[in-house]
Each structure stands twice: as C-alpha cells, then as structure tokens.
Amino acid sequence: MAAPIEHRIRWSGLIIALGLIVQSCTLFWTHPLSFMAFLLIGCPLVAAGILLYLYSLASHHHPSGAESEAPR
C-alpha cells in the first residue's frame, strides 16, 4: 500500500498535469475566453498541485527521523 506522501504526490502530479493541459489548450486560441480559462482554471489547478506537493513534503514524518531521536 502506498505511503500517504506518495498518495499526495500522485494527486499533486495529476492536478498539475491537468492544469498544464488546460494551459496548453488555451494557447491554441486567441480569445478573451481563452485568457479567462487560463487564469481561472489552468493557473489555480497548477497552484493547487504545487501547494499539495509542498504540503506533502512539509507534513511528511520520515521514519528514520523518529529513530534518530530515540535514546540510544
């Protein structure tokens, strides 16, 4: 079974990929709606993915870290 950090990294990668796919699609069309889609869908998705990844790093407790703190 995947560790929680891997689960979050998986979601993070998928969300970032989705945001970047939206961004790529908007580049094929010069129109205000394309600009809005980029700004309101693409950018927030990528930002959410990056934040989720950073959160997964910050909230991760490494098992070896716990061992090193234990009395020898």
């Binding site: 993070s12 970032i16 010069t30 600009f35 990528v46 993915g49």
Partner: protein, 210 residues
C-alpha cells in the same frame, strides 16, 4: 499563434509528461534521485511553465485581434479602416502610427504604473458582460473616464510636426494646456473624429493589402 507559442506548448507538454510520470510512479520518490526529480517536476518546471504562459497570455491580450474578438467590438474594428483622413483612429491604424496588431492597446491603455493591469481587470469585466450581462449597442459604449492627452503625448510630445503645427499655436499656451490635460486633444473642432460607430454606414473603407 505567434512564434513563441509552439515552443511553449512543447515545453508544457514535456512538463505534463513528467508530472504524469511522477504521479504514476510515485514510489520513485522514495530514492534520493526520485525526490529531486519530483521537486523539479512538481514545483520548478510547473512554475516556469505557468510564468511563461502568463507572459504569453498577457502579450496576446494586447493584440488587436484579441480586442476585436468580442462581437460588440466589430464596428470599432471596422472604423479603423474608414477612408477619411480626418478620422483619427483610422489615420493612425492605416499609416502605422500605431502597430496594427496592437492598435487598440496602444491608444487605450493608460501609460501609468498599473495601466496594464487596470486594463486587464476591466477587460475581465467586459467578458462577464459579453456572456452574462446586457450587451450595450456599440454606439453606447463609452470610455470609463474622458480620454487623457497623456495617451496621445506618449508618442506625439516632442515631435516636430506636433510642436510646430500652426493649429497648435492658435493660443500661446495651447501646448502647455494640452500637456496638462486642461485642453483635450479630442476637443470639438480639433481631433474630434473618433470611433463614430453610429455613422459608419455609407462610408468608404480602405482595404488592407496582404
């Protein structure tokens, strides 16, 4: 699509593939190399792609094609091709006094610190009105504030033709008044033939050669 768009699409595609790879093979991040790869793929490269995308989108939003893509702006675009030498927007457009592919933006963005961003914010409101609001008739569309001479003088100030024109010396302090925006360049009997979209019918139009 301009020249940079294909490069950006290619770069973004690579980042998408790497992000998907990291998502599918998340167990790779257990190793040190995988951790570095994940950091580059899920933080550095997406930020770079978005930064480049923002730059590209902002650049596109200054194009004439972008501004005229809303139906309500059609007549304003047509007024740029009016065959009338007294017609200020048409003269500027047809003689390349403003870059044709950035014609609207050149004259209608405040040359101030946040002029660009204010224009974008208003533009987003325009999109909202276009799809969810009550679309005004082209002739009813007015500027938010009276046109500021600053936008004209950004190019004309200091130009010999502007400073020596006899019509600009009808009063001794005319240029000073124009510079301080006390006397509008668009005053009646001066340069008052602007986008008169209500009276376009029956006029002749200049055809741009390809």
């Amino acid at each position: 699509m301009n020249n940079t768009a294909p490069i950006l699409i290619f770069f973004t595609s690579i980042v998408i593939l790497l992000a998907i790879l990291t998502a599918v093979r998340a167990e790779l991040t257990r190793a040190r190399g995988g951790k570095i790869l994940a950091f580059v793929t899920l933080a550095i490269l997406p930020l770079l792609a978005v930064w480049a995308g923002v730059h590209e989108q902002l650049e596109r939003s200054t194009s004439t094609r972008f501004c005229l893509s809303c139906h309500v702006m059609h007549d304003f675009g047509e007024s740029l091709s009016l065959d009338d030498k007294a017609y200020i927007p048409a003269v500027h457009y047809q003689n390349n006094f403003v870059p044709r592919d950035h014609a609207c933006f050149t004259c209608h963005t405040d040359y101030t610190m946040f002029g660009d961003y204010r224009a974008k914010w208003r533009g987003m409101h325009h999109v909202w009105v276009e799809y969810f609001g009550k679309i005004p008739q082209p002739a009813d569309i007015k500027l938010y504030t009276p046109y500021n001479n600053r936008e004209c003088l950004h190019c004309h100030a200091g130009a010999r033709k502007y400073e020596e024109a006899s019509s600009h010396h009808k009063n001794p302090d005319m240029l000073a008044q124009a510079a301080s925006n006390k006397l509008s360049c668009l005053t009646a009997d001066c340069h008052d033939s602007i986008h008169d979209v209500a009276n376009l019918k029956g006029n002749t139009f200049w055809k741009e050669s390809n």
